[in-house]
């Protein structure tokens, strides 16, 4: 299809511009460089896939076919109507033959036509089905023979030709030579050599015909496309084929996995009876009837009690109200798949009492301290891991991600990822506990923690639906964030609402470039965020912010991508790049934002923290300048600050009294003359402040006249302006001041 073709051609095929194409691919995770001219065939297929998927619209649960698909269907129908179609063995054994059959059968039916198959092809298939050493080939051949038989019965396939010749290829050549004069012929084969030879029949000049010979192969979508008969790509093709088969082999999982269900399995849940609940000293039996003794109690929780046993495992014994048929079935299901990883405390064996009553299960012992209690409380982090630095945080993220990947590969969704379920011994040794709440097949995870619950499933009852991997990726992202900013939930913000509302709003408050909502939590959290490398910040921002490109469930960054992001971070730490840029790069509790290389930094003489030149004066940072000594005014007791600015920069002495008490008397704001009796009265400063606060005008009458409220004031309306003794002087000085104001 597309091999080493311009991106432009692809873009024009889909009626979009090159920029739009690149953006669309970017959004789906495939990154093409803008100037890239040649694309490999593999990439071409990927691009085609992505573009097709994005254009499929689902309306009323039916998929409406895209333009391009319609083209392929039309072309196929054209062949059916006008050509005699032959199928070769190689095409029948192609991976996409089933898709092809699905596509072509309805068209054959509506046009009442058949596909032709020669008996030599049938004999080859039989040979493979009965005598091949390749198991896969055998199975494939058997399957396709069955389908062919069915189609023959339905009159959609006709077997024509004689059995004299043995080589199918030769038969095709002779048949096509013979009938090329009277019929349009189409051969569907994957074999390039045969295709080449058959195509060359069109070049025969001695016998002319107006009929056409076409050779096609089955493409990835079950439709027909041309062979690429360029010789160099033959080698290319074989290389790609070998790569593809290798990858497919890898996909054959060496381990088993659970099936993926979409709905909670409905089964009646009956309580299981138990005569006496086991306790220390009791003997229990496993599936095989072996005896397990409970030695002593390790811990007790809401659901059950954990005991040490005389085996290498520990036992979880459920409380009476937790024993029911659904739980029993779920544990049985969990045990059916072997989980080798010792640091995931997964059920290994079921435990029964000596009366064959289900009581619990055995699991490997966990070590370490809950993430919540070791890393997420600053003082405890400093106490328990005094030498912990960012490198350890990144290592811890990778360790946890690998374990989650292990479980996801087996189609196990953890569901309730939270810091109380993860125990930490070191950044490389981590244990997962409370595993019986994991979501397996149709058994949901019945619990959740609000901070780790994706916005689309908030406020839902966890018992009633199955979580998807996308829901899980939100929890994973939150966990990684809370490890890098120890203990801080991503949506905590200044002036925020309840955690649920914050999460649903997706108003992420940490800055990316110049995008910020100015509600970032104050203090060390800002600095910690700033010291993350840009690509890490970008990933978090895109996941958590409602405008981010990975914020919708279908776009969320998955575990594998997070692993590559953190591996890249780890590399930058290990090769010293980050430390060279800023020596605080490895501090878990940095004291300032990350240094930017183009600015000059100096240490403040008071707080000893480095700040940009522009934020310091005379060796003291702006923050320290506004701080100072706190004391009270000698006269009125008001709170005052002797700032460092006054002390060091302005060289002013410490004032003993506040501004208002300064003069020794109450400062006057204005001295006015009453409009009625023309006597002078004062308006002290604090009275003026009160008036201003309540938006009242300055009184024009003295107190006496005001209370009398004489009508003289109403008569003498003419001159409302009070004869202000000082007003002329004030006006003049104001004028001068305004001239010289900056």
């Amino acid at each position: 299809m597309y091999n080493e073709t311009d991106i432009l051609k692809i873009a024009s095929d889909f009626n979009i511009s090159k920029e739009e194409l690149i953006n669309e691919l970017d959004a789906s995770g495939l990154h093409i460089k803008y100037g890239q001219k040649n694309i490999s065939r593999e990439t071409g297929f990927k691009i085609y896939n992505i573009l097709m998927e994005n254009r499929k619209k689902v309306v009323n649960h039916k998929i409406i076919k895209t333009d391009i698909e319609m083209n392929s269907i039309n072309r196929m129908e054209y062949y059916i109507k006008n050509f005699k179609i032959f199928l070769d063995t190689s095409s029948l054994l192609d991976d996409e033959i089933y898709l092809f059959i699905d596509n072509i059968v309805p068209l054959l039916k509506t046009n009442n036509k058949k596909i032709l198959v020669i008996p030599q092809v049938g004999m080859e298939l039989e040979k493979h089905a009965n005598r091949s050493n390749d198991e896969k080939l055998k199975e494939k051949s058997k399957k396709i023979i069955l389908i062919l038989n069915k189609l023959i019965k339905q009159n959609l396939i006709e077997v024509i030709g004689g059995t004299n010749e043995s080589f199918a290829d030769n038969v095709f050549l002779s048949v096509f030579t013979k009938f090329r004069i009277d019929h349009n012929l189409l051969l569907i084969t994957e074999d390039k050599k045969l295709a080449n030879d058959i195509e060359n029949l069109s070049n025969i000049t001695s016998v002319k015909t107006n009929k056409v010979i076409n050779v096609r192969k089955i493409n990835r979508y079950g439709f027909l496309s041309k062979h690429n008969l360029n010789k160099t790509t033959d080698i290319y093709d074989s290389k790609i084929k070998s790569i593809r088969t290798n990858n497919e082999n890898k996909k054959i999982i060496q381990h088993e996995a659970f099936k993926l269900f979409t709905k909670v399995s409905e089964s009646t849940n009956k309580p299981l009876s138990i005569s006496i609940l086991p306790k220390v000293g009791d003997t229990l039996l496993n599936e095989k009837g072996e005896k397990i003794k409970l030695i002593n109690e390790i811990a007790s929780g809401g659901e059950g009690i954990i005991y040490e046993t005389d085996s290498k495992y520990i036992a979880k014994i459920y409380k009476k109200d937790q024993l029911n048929t659904r739980k029993f079935e779920k544990i049985k299901k969990m045990i059916s798949i072997k989980i080798d990883n010792v640091s995931i405390c997964y059920p290994r064996e079921i435990l029964y009492t000596t009366n064959q009553e289900f009581v619990g299960y055995l699991m490997p012992k966990a070590k370490g301290k809950e993430l919540q209690k070791s890393l997420f409380i600053n003082q405890l982090l400093k106490k328990n891991f005094p030498y912990w630095n960012r490198k350890n945080s990144v290592e811890l993220c990778l360790t946890i991600l690998e374990k989650i990947k292990y479980l996801h590969e087996r189609n196990i969704i953890l569901g309730d990822i939270n810091p109380m379920n993860i125990l930490v011994v070191s950044s490389k040794e981590v244990y997962f506990v409370d595993t019986d709440s994991y979501q397996i097949e149709g058994y949901p995870c019945p619990v959740g923690t609000i901070n780790f619950t994706a916005p689309e499933i908030q406020r839902k009852s966890f018992n009633e639906f199955l979580r998807t991997f996308q829901n899980e990726y939100f929890a994973v992202s939150t966990l990684l964030f809370m490890i890098m900013l120890p203990g801080k939930p991503p949506y905590s913000q200044q002036g925020g609402e309840s955690p649920i509302d914050n999460i649903i709003k997706m108003d992420f408050s940490y800055r990316l470039g110049d995008k910020t909502n100015h509600k970032t939590p104050i203090g060390q959290w800002r600095y910690m965020w700033s010291h993350l490398p840009y690509f890490v910040k970008e990933s978090f921002y895109n996941t958590f912010h409602y405008e981010g490109s990975n914020s919708k469930p279908q776009n969320r960054i998955n575990v594998i991508k997070w692993i590559s992001i953190f591996k890249r971070y780890e590399k930058l730490i290990l090769d010293g790049t980050l430390i060279n840029q800023d020596e605080m790069a490895l501090d878990v509790f940095p004291k300032r934002v990350k240094k930017i290389s183009k600015f000059n930094y100096e240490k403040c003489s008071i707080c000893k923290v480095e700040h940009k030149d522009s934020q310091m004066r005379k060796g003291i940072c702006n923050e320290c300048l506004s701080k100072g000594e706190h004391y009270s005014c000698k006269k009125c007791g008001k709170h005052m600050i002797y700032t460092n600015n006054q002390k060091f920069l302005q060289n002013k002495p410490k004032f003993e009294t506040c501004f208002e008490c300064f003069d020794g008397k109450e400062k006057m704001y204005q001295i006015l003359s009453c409009t009625i009796c023309y006597s002078t009265f004062n308006i002290p400063y604090n009275e003026y402040k009160k008036l201003k606060k309540n938006n009242l005008p300055i009184p024009r009458e003295c107190k006496k006249c005001k209370s009398n409220n004489t009508t003289k004031a109403k008569k003498n309306n003419i001159n409302k302006q009070p004869y202000n003794v000082l007003s002329i002087g004030n006006a003049f000085s104001n004028l001068i001041n305004n001239f010289y104001k900056k």
Binding site: F376, K488, S492, K519, I522
Partner: protein, 231 residues
């Protein structure tokens, strides 16, 4: 350490400690009827409460306790304001005076509201605050203040913004008035002077709450209540 510096330190705690907080206000009756063995037992209980929280790693960083006492000359005093428990000294109570229950509750609610606002400003998650109200007699403070306090409390409880524990001490406690403060939980009468058991249960409950997520409903351990209280 003056007022201002103390306030700065309190804000600092909010910034550096990201744990979701459980604000608890103990509103305690120190009227003269409490003097003698009652106030002694109460002191021991409070001491034990502080110790229990200090020894529980999760609760240590999550619990924030304030103490309001009402007594004296119809006055309610804030004996200790909200702050990180590591900075607090266990207070010692002495009994004398009247029982201005309404004034005490009003002050407690004000303190709780102020602290909640500080949480919101600094971006710290918090659980529903708890008000523990203990009295051994009948209120004899201002009637209007009392009514006002009851209305406020009931409103907050109904809109799920407050949890109230009204406790009556001794045989003369006015259970009816206590009942008015708590529409959905009947007040409990302390068995004798079992303060220690009550505070043990309280610190345990705080521990359990701080291990859940803010906003989630926590099922309080009602079995423990039978230990110290009786209807």
């Amino acid at each position: 350490m003056n007022e201002y510096e103390l306030m700065v330190l309190r804000q600092k705690d909010l910034i550096s400690n990201p744990t979701a907080r459980v604000p608890v206000c103990l509103c305690l009756d120190i009227s003269s009827s409490m003097s003698g063995s009652a106030i002694d037992e109460l002191n021991k209980g409070v001491q034990m409460f502080y110790d229990a929280i200090r020894n529980d790693e999760t609760a240590l960083y999550a619990a924030e306790i304030s103490i309001v006492t009402f007594g004296g000359n119809f006055e309610a005093t804030c004996l200790q304001d909200f702050s990180n428990i590591e900075r607090q000294e266990t207070p010692v109570l002495s009994a004398e005076g009247m029982t201005p229950l309404g004034e005490g509750v009003e002050l407690a609610l004000d303190l709780l509201e102020r602290r909640k606002q500080e949480y919101r400003d600094k971006g710290v998650d918090y659980y529903q605050p708890w008000l523990v109200l203990m009295t051994d007699g009948a209120p004899n403070g201002n009637q209007r203040t009392l009514d006002y306090a009851i209305t406020n409390t009931v409103n907050l409880v109904k809109s799920k913004k407050l949890t109230v524990f009204p406790i009556g001490i001794g045989p003369y406690a006015d259970m009816e008035i206590l009942g008015e403060f708590s529409p959905d939980r009947s007040p409990l009468r302390l068995q004798g002077l079992k303060f220690k058991e009550f505070f043990a249960w309280l610190s345990n409950s705080i521990s359990r709450t701080s291990m859940s997520t803010p906003g989630e409903e926590v099922k309080l351990d009602i079995d423990g209540v039978k230990g110290w209280g009786s209807l």
